[in-house]
Amino acid sequence: MSIEPVLFYIFSAVLVTAAALVVVVRNPVHAALFLILAFFTSAAIWLLLEAEFLAIVLVLVYVGAVMVLFLFVVMMLDINLTPLREGFIRYLPVGVAVAVIVLLEMAVVVGPGNFGLEQMPAPPRHGADYSNTEELGAILYTVYAYPFEIAAVILLVAIVAAITLTMRRRPQAKYQNPAEQVLVRRDDRVRMVKMEAEKGENKEQ
């Protein structure tokens, strides 16, 4: 037996546990940390699938950047979850019922009956010179160039939207302009005044 299935089950177990804990734990910072763990293990599972580019980018973008900011906000906000959970017990039966139904449906549909190895044979393994990054790049910039560009536009809209919703111009706020500061010459600030020496009665004693 090769080591891969063992690794897969280990990572899957960690992933599922972490994902469940994200929802269950009371402390929002702990929840965020479990979410990071979940991302990390899913990246590991992707590595097992030879999708190294996706795996590393998941770590880079989600773990390395998105979750850092997420933690940042969670730590700053000091969210009190108790009032948020007030209706929890009341809605629990309905929620559980819906969840169980959806789970059963999905188990029937997505289970081995439809997606087993007979219907979907495992793809062939690639050699060491196979580069997932190159393959993705080649297809992304050719066949999927149009969706790729739209995705870029969506990100642009996200930037515009975020700035529209958060930026408030404060005319009275004082800004520092280092370039201006550096360009200051003595003549701009200091004026040399020639004055006649005072003459008069107040003579030194």
């Binding site: 549909v109 439809n114 999927y144 739209i150 939207a161």
Partner: protein
């Protein structure tokens, strides 16, 4: 690998709108408050230019490019032209409203243009991926526009509700698409259709994917029981933005329904027909009944939208070409009527006064007989009273349903249309038989008055001569 550079020409309108939206974004940065009208004019120019490009590049044969992810056919071109037209009118109606409320910022027009781009992508999407991305582009711009009035609690609340429910719907859509990809092995609409043609139709994976996609579509269109967000968002958003949400995006959503359900999953007609029957019946019933209880005209129009979506589904679920063209006719007419109705709300409002209560329409006849008459036409049309175009729209979808043997559904629709007539006519009663509480004269620029009059008169004229639009809808389907 061998790869041919795709033909960019069919997507020229999209490229133009994108370039202009970016240009407007940058130009706006250098404008002062006084010159902001330049942004407005540039946006209108963009829409005009896109319309010219779309019409001049139109060809009868469908053109597929970008490796099958983009299609430019008659349906897409006609819907796009209507989207430009309606958005242009929306911008025109909104201008004064936004200036009066200090919301006249370049971002409104930039986001509006990006929303138009999203609608264009959606209308021309021929791949699940592009359909999804177009929808996201549209929705993201919309969320931001709803939230733009930052200091208003209702509009922030509306934006949150819209965003969260919209995100859930997108999740559903993606899940459905991934299941369909799992079943068919392709994201391409044409390939999915071909796969379904050649396989048995009781594939569980395909059906679950279909259900998820219909749920997402119902969410986005606002069909009962996925309608909860519509009244809150319509009510909370600034009227100018409600005006936008309730008009052009519905046309794009119709195109999405056509691409996904008929072009892609047309082979599963018998399965989705049953689901749509339930959605349509519930929407017509709930929308029309609940609208009666509303005191706020934006909420009332929101519920009326829900009932109109029900009628739209009637046309689609017929599953025949007559049904589709009737649905298309319906959605275009609906967009026109909704444009006029929300335009009237804007016309009556002024800084510090939203005119969004039904009581604000009291005695409009005394204040301005002409606009009372315009509102009368619009309300009659929404209710489906001849000789307005609303009547023909309802007639067309009902006859399409009768043709496929669902007579009970048609009768059901007619019954609730009669119920619905009550609340439209109540506004007419307020306008003509009540004393005005507010005697302030209607203050608006000439272009707003002219266009809103034209809008209402078109509704009337199309009611008298509906033939050309019906024929157009029939040819493009």
């Amino acid at each position: 690998m061998n790869f041919e550079i795709p033909d960019f020409a069919p997507a020229a309108p999209e490229i133009f709108v994108l370039a202009m939206a970016c240009a407007v974004l940058i130009v706006d940065l250098f404008l002062t408050e006084k010159n902001r009208v330049i942004t407005y004019l540039l946006s209108q120019t963009t829409l005009l230019g896109a319309a010219v490009l779309t019409v001049s590049l139109h060809s009868a044969a469908p053109q597929v490019t970008f490796s099958g992810t983009f299609i430019s056919d008659s349906l897409a071109d006609v819907l796009k032209v209507f989207i430009y037209l309606i958005t242009a009118v929306v911008f025109l109606y909104s201008r004064e409203y936004l200036i009066a409320r200090k919301l006249f910022k370049g971002e409104f027009f930039v986001l509006g243009l990006f929303a138009v781009l999203g609608m264009m992508v959606l209308v021309s999407g021929y791949n699940m991926l592009t359909l999804y991305l177009g929808l996201e582009l549209l929705s993201l711009s919309m969320y931001a526009m709803v939230a733009m009035h930052r200091d208003s609690m209702p509009s922030s609340e509306a934006a949150m509700k819209y965003f969260i429910l919209g995100a859930i719907a997108s999740g559903m859509l993606l899940y459905g698409m991934s299941l369909i990809y799992g079943a068919t092995g392709s994201l391409d609409i044409a390939e999915i259709a071909a796969y379904i043609q050649n396989s048995s139709s009781d594939d569980m994976v395909l059906l679950l994917g279909l259900v998820f996609i219909i749920v997402a579509l119902a969410f986005k269109l606002g069909a009962v029981p996925f309608h909860m967000w519509i009244p809150d968002v319509y009510h909370g958003a600034p009227t100018a933005i409600t005006l936008f949400i309730s008009t052009a995006p519905k046309i794009a959503a119709f195109a999405m329904v056509m691409r996904l359900l008929t072009d892609g999953l047309g082979g599963l007609l018998t399965q989705w027909q049953d689901i749509l029957v339930i959605l349509a019946a519930l929407s017509i019933a709930v929308g029309n009944v609940v609208a009666i209880a509303q005191g706020n005209i934006k909420r009332m129009l929101a519920y009326s939208t829900i009932s109109h979506v029900g009628f739209l589904f009637l046309g689609v679920l017929a599953g025949t070409d007559e049904g589709y063209s009737a649905a298309m006719f319906y959605v275009l007419v609906y967009a026109l009527m909704s444009l006029g109705a929300f335009g009237m709300v804007i016309l009556l409002s002024r800084a510090g006064f939203e005119a969004d209560n039904i009581a604000d329409f009291k005695g409009l006849n005394e204040r301005s007989p002409w606009f009372a008459f315009m509102m009368l036409i619009l309300m009659f049309s929404m209710a489906g009273v001849p000789p307005t175009v609303g009547f023909y729209a309802k007639l067309a979808v009902l006859s399409a349903v009768v043709d496929v043997g669902l007579v009970w559904l048609a009768v059901f629709g007619v019954l609730f249309a009669v119920v619905g007539a009550f609340y439209y006519l109540r506004i007419v009663k307020f306008m003509y038989f009540e004393k005005p509480e507010d005697k302030a004269p209607l203050a608006s620029d000439f272009d707003m008055r002219a266009v809103i009059s034209a809008n209402a008169l078109v509704v009337l004229a199309l009611g008298i001569f509906p033939g050309s639009l019906i024929a157009l809808c029939a040819t493009v389907i």
